[in-house]
Subunit: 141 residues, 4 copies
């Protein structure tokens, strides 16, 4: 069974663009992280509190992004997060950035990028990989 797709809206500002007139490729990792953060928040997980309670944090261990079409200043995006798999020490998400169209209700949002992000759980002090607390895994699934 597939996990539900979480969807988060965001806007493109000057800070996101580069001298090529497009959104800088690194920003897509910011956008994906914002969507994951809000996905976690929607599941009741706040990362700052999580760290205080468990001593652990999520860190990105692998990121793969395909840039399908350019995003530009003032564009309004949907960024998605969908849990693909959850293991003992890491989880993997599928994520997309989509351009919101306002032209007509038939318009499909245009795909700007899609990525796969693997997130590991580490001890915040030693930065060593550790098992994701069971309570977190439960909230995720």
């Amino acid at each position: 069974m597939q996990s539900p797709v979480f969807r988060f809206p965001l806007r493109i500002y000057w800070e996101d663009t580069d001298g090529r007139g497009l959104v800088h490729p690194s920003k897509m990792l910011h956008f994906y992280e914002r969507a994951r953060t809000e996905w976690l928040r929607a599941l009741g997980i706040e990362q700052q509190k999580l760290r205080e309670q468990t001593g652990g944090i999520f860190v990105v261990t692998h990121a793969s992004v395909h840039y399908a079409a350019p995003a530009r200043l003032d564009d309004q995006l949907w960024v998605t997060a969908q849990l693909e798999s959850a293991g003992r020490a890491s989880i993997t998400l599928s994520q997309q950035a989509l351009l919101q169209h306002a032209v007509s209700s038939d318009d499909q949002p245009q795909l700007l990028s899609e990525g796969r992000i693997r997130i590991g759980w580490v001890d915040a002090t030693s930065m060593r990989p550790a098992r994701i607390p069971a309570s977190i895994l439960e909230q995720l699934s």
Copy 2:
């Protein structure tokens, strides 16, 4: 025959770190891009001039990064760029970030990340894919 490995040094500053105490994963794309820019410059290619002369620019079309170990404030890195393949409309590079060790001459630099980046050539106005100018492909190989 393998292409030579280009190596570029850089330092980690506060701006590169995030609240987890590590370099933010998005910064690795900045570091790789700096190394690619200096690799191009070493081959005689300045991207600003290139755009003025040809009307085209390089853009990232795919990025895949494995984060092997954390980088921290004040770390001194080597970032590499190695041409893996060059086609008519895109090139692919292998890149690594390595931690410089100063302890002894026997020390191997520690691998922090490795990635594969595909760069496409597009018309700077239309953002449509185009053929990389032959003179550029010659300089690259």
Copy 3:
């Protein structure tokens, strides 16, 4: 007569924090710019269209920021923008970042930073200062 205070909400993400555990000081300029952009949008001014129509763009010519208190991951902010003065070639805004409190309706939002930003109008090609188009000045006041 004072101009009205425009207020824009935003959230702090990992990308905004640095290794000190706080929001990096440079991000305040991003937050202020997002609020100014939304203030302009609320007045009917989209900067991308503006450039296409007039050939001009707004650029920051002076920024002064006092950091009153730290912002942290997951914080929810209000960022304000208030027109202070408008000349022929530049405008000046007062801006603040405030921490939203959800505790009770009596809570005053806490001041995180306040700044004064001067924005000049320049020709987008030559980057030379120019007069702000009269229609823009009208929309601003």
Copy 4:
């Protein structure tokens, strides 16, 4: 007696530019911070070690930047740091960004920006202002 001017070279990359074709104003705070970090390092102060040894960190409490001329992709800059005053709990620096000219030895570097940055010393855990350790103040003067 004036403090000596510390000078640090850096290059402009795509990551530093925005869709206006210029360096984004927020990046100037990054460049100033890099120069301050290297100035401290030249005085024997590494901020990561400093935190481990003293429990304190430097944070920016005020930043004022005048943007005199645009910086662009591939530009090579000098960024300066000069101690203006040192108090018990904060220090103030004058900083400039200058464009390196390679045309002739008579060329004066062009002023791109100048700023004044006040840095406070805070306890890294409580974020409360504290006295700069005497040993640090000695190294600075």
